[in-house]
């Protein structure tokens, strides 16, 4: 039942795909189109003393994360995991993603975002780009992408990045909080997710490989170079501009906050694969679930958590970003995020269950 009162009704409307949600979505789309395809934001940026519209965008992004983060911390103040996690998200955005690049620029160093790594930021393993930077940046990029990501993923799961560090995840978990429940929980959406995200990952790896080849032999094979740069341009428009920015954020009020992270982000795909063989899991307390469905409803990644909880199945899903909201909203304390040495790594894989359970395995 919707709460009485104009503000409450508006709040319901904007959270539940009402007219105001469609308008909010249209505004977000318009903002991103203006940002990517015009220079309209250059003037206000100059007025603030920034030399680029992207710095202004960084400022707006930080403001969204800080204010949304304060709201989230207040809302979940009784839950230490949520408070600590959100503080880290805010600090990462303000320090690593906004202030440090400005400071670097001030000291005439290259613009560099320590909170982003390949394959999310594909330039950071693009030889044509990264080898121009000073050695410490190159070292950070290679070690970070190729060592830090998998190692931390094994021990902590995907969450160390996707819901603690990443700016996309940070925006989703703060500014996006009112819309987290809109992500589709259907088995069909899950199927789309698996196809889409691995397609983008394949494109990303192929592009990176081609860029390395071009770097090595491009000067002698101009046709390879030409095709590579065409592919790079296509990837930039499709994945970087449209999927991560315009669609990813524009659809917040209609499709939930993790459209990009769930379906398209190559970083999430890599971490998801690592997670399935790592230690992270969601432990389900036996026989304590009342099937209320709050866990599923508030899962921003569209995981039907209830299907696991009501069948007493602890699980690891590649898409789970470990935001911990399922455990937070559970009224019976059934769920817990854990990093455990697993005796049976197949346990999780066994339950390919869509929104239900596999044939002949109605474990009750």
């Amino acid at each position: 039942m919707i709460r009485d009162g104009a503000l409450h009704k508006l709040s319901h409307d904007v959270r539940n795909r009402g007219y105001s949600a469609w308008m909010t979505s249209a505004l977000l789309f318009a903002f991103y189109i203006i940002l990517y395809y015009t220079e309209w934001l250059a003037a206000p940026a100059r007025m603030l003393g920034f030399d680029s519209k992207w710095t202004l965008y960084g400022l707006l992004y930080s403001i969204a994360i800080v204010s949304g983060g304060v709201y989230v911390i207040r809302k979940y103040r009784h839950n230490r995991y949520q408070v600590v996690r959100t503080l880290v998200v805010i600090a990462t955005q303000v320090v690593l993603a906004f202030s440090v690049p400005l400071i670097l620029k001030f000291f005439r160093q290259p613009e560099f975002y320590f909170s982003y790594l390949w394959p999310l930021k594909i330039e950071y393993l693009t030889p044509q780009y990264i080898f121009q930077l000073p050695a410490p940046f190159i070292l950070y990029s290679f070690l970070g992408s190729l060592l830090l990501v998998p190692v931390l993923g094994i021990f902590l799961g995907k969450r160390w990045y996707c819901s603690w560090i990443c700016g996309c995840g940070g925006l989703a978990n703060t500014f996006g909080e009112p819309w987290r429940h809109l992500t589709s929980k259907s088995a069909a959406a899950w199927k789309f997710e698996r196809i889409a995200i691995h397609t983008v990952l394949a494109l990303c790896i192929a592009l990176t490989a081609m860029l390395f080849i071009t770097y090595a032999v491009g000067s002698r094979n101009p046709e390879i170079a030409r095709q590579t740069y065409r592919f790079q341009e296509f990837y930039g428009i499709l994945v970087v501009s449209w999927l991560s920015g315009i669609i990813g954020v524009g659809l917040y009020p209609l499709g939930g906050t993790r459209v990009w992270c769930r379906n398209f982000c190559p970083m999430a795909a890599v971490l998801g694969l690592v997670q399935k063989f790592g230690r992270f899991r969601i432990t389900v307390k036996e026989n304590m679930c009342i099937s209320c469905g709050l866990c599923s409803k508030y899962c921003e990644m569209g995981i039907d958590v209830r299907a696991y909880a009501q069948s007493n199945t602890s699980f690891t899903r590649a898409s789970c970003v470990g935001c911990g909201l399922c455990a937070e909203v559970c009224p019976r304390g059934v769920l817990r995020l854990e990093n455990v040495a697993r005796q049976d790594p197949q346990q999780a894989v066994l339950v390919r269950i869509g929104n239900a359970r596999p044939q002949g395995r109605w474990a009750i």
Binding site: R3, G5, M288, S291, G293, P331, L337, A356
Partner: protein, 433 residues
């Protein structure tokens, strides 16, 4: 083989899925007068709070019933004729069965108040989908509501009414909130918590009369003490009773007492008719007749009844009791026997400083028998294990940490509890108030 199940609640739905898991060919039909699809009754409050839609309350995607070939029929069963193995619905449609499971759940308990029969509008329960609809019709921001009955459903209804801006008076007959489950200290902590949410909670108030306007709308309740509480919405949450009354009007009712009597394999007195869940009263040799009316027991019984219908030998014994609930923001886990502890038991109670959390552990004859945990999360299976292993409190206390289930960074600090235990030990049972 045609299996028919009356009721699509958790017992009925669990039984249907369990039957299908074992018998791929049988015809399975689930009849419900209340709803088209199985939904989570325990989550009704979240629809009321606008945190969920009614559709969200359905534990399975709808295609599951199609893919599992479980036929759903909407209607109230009016007649049961055992010799011809036929059910008759209120629409006069007849449905034949080979094996029948009655899983009709519970209905709200009425109260013997003066004026009860005159109350046509404004008096609500909070058990069924229809109840939710009636509650929503009477909910008005700024309006006055009275809720009577200090159990779990009561506090859930109160939370919903507060959320919707009603002025709520919560009348509880007992000296503290929910003495059936909580000790005095816990009751006090929960009472404080409820009051802090803006509820007028009044203890030791027994209603004996309801006042209505000429057209039957509830206006006020009057208590034993003569006090009068105005209300336009009167929530009555005085517990539930097995939904077995409808059988009296049928041609061949099975034997009933409090509920539908069954043996330990859920067989009723009628041939090929089983009963399970809240509506069943199980006669277990050497024990008192058992009526279990919580979500977990209904799920368990539904599964076991299905096995019995499939011909497996079933000899139902309830496991060590456990339950959970939530009072506004305070979560509750209980395992074993706490408030029905035998004479001579010892108790250890500890209230966390600066946090609404407490633990109570009961020990009898040198072994722990029960836990009441409030405000923090516990892995109840470990607590159950300690009970079944008959561990003494001296064993349990230093290991309590192993059973904690709190979120990361949010673990309740048990060091002061252990310190209190080591310095003072448990107290004799009489000290619990």
């Amino acid at each position: 083989m045609r299996f028919v199940i009356i009721g699509n609640g958790v017992a009925g739905a669990t039984a249907a899925l369990a039957l299908r898991a074992r018998d791929p060919d049988a015809s399975i039909t689930m009849i419900s007068g209340e709803s088209d699809y199985f939904f989570s009754r325990t989550a009704l409050m979240y629809a009321y709070l606008d945190r969920m839609t009614l559709r969200d309350l359905e534990p399975y995607e709808r295609q599951v019933w199609t893919s599992q070939r479980i036929e759903r029929v909407r209607g109230w069963v009016r007649d049961l004729h055992a010799p011809s193995k036929t059910l008759t619905l209120d629409s006069s449609v007849q449905i034949g069965y080979d094996k029948l499971l009655i899983a009709t759940g519970s209905v709200a308990r009425d109260l013997p108040w003066v004026g009860w029969e005159r109350a046509k509008r404004g008096l609500v329960h909070f058990v069924t989908l229809a109840d939710l609809e009636r509650c929503e019709q009477q909910t008005r921001r700024g309006g006055k509501a009275v809720v009577v009955g200090g159990g779990l459903i009561g506090v859930e209804l109160v939370e919903c009414l507060i959320h919707h801006g009603m002025q709520v008076t919560f009348l509880v007959r007992e000296p503290w909130y929910w003495p059936a489950a909580l000790g005095g200290e816990e009751g006090l902590m929960i009472s404080d918590h409820i009051r802090r949410h803006g509820v007028t909670l009044l203890l030791e108030e027994t209603v004996n009369e309801v006042e209505c306007s000429g057209d039957g709308h509830v206006q006020a309740v009057i208590t034993d003490s003569g006090r009068r509480y105005d209300c336009e919405l009167l929530g009555v949450t005085a517990g539930v009773k097995p939904a077995a009354g409808w059988l009296a009007a049928t041609q061949t009712p099975p034997r009933t007492a409090r509920g539908i009597l069954t043996d330990a394999a859920f067989r009723t007195s009628l041939p090929d008719v089983w009963a399970a869940g809240d509506c069943a009263e199980i006669e277990i040799p050497g024990a008192a007749p058992l009526v279990e009316q919580i979500w977990y027991s209904a799920k368990r019984q539904g599964e076991q009844a299905a096995l019995s219908m499939l011909g497996d030998p079933v000899d139902y014994r309830p496991p060590i009791f456990f339950n959970s609930s939530k009072f506004f923001d305070i979560e509750f886990t209980t395992v074993g026997r706490v408030n029905d502890a035998p004479a001579g038991s010892r108790q250890f109670y500890w209230r966390a400083p600066e946090r609404e959390a407490s633990i109570r552990i009961v020990e009898a004859a040198g072994a722990v028998i029960g836990f009441n945990m409030l405000g923090s999360r516990w892995e109840h299976t470990i607590l159950e294990r300690w009970i079944s292993e008959r561990r003494p409190m001296e064993y349990v206390m230093p290991r309590l940490r192993e059973a904690q289930f709190d979120v990361e960074f949010g673990r309740l600090d048990l060091a002061p509890a252990l310190e209190k235990f080591l310095s003072r030990g448990p107290e004799p049972e009489g000290a619990k108030r």
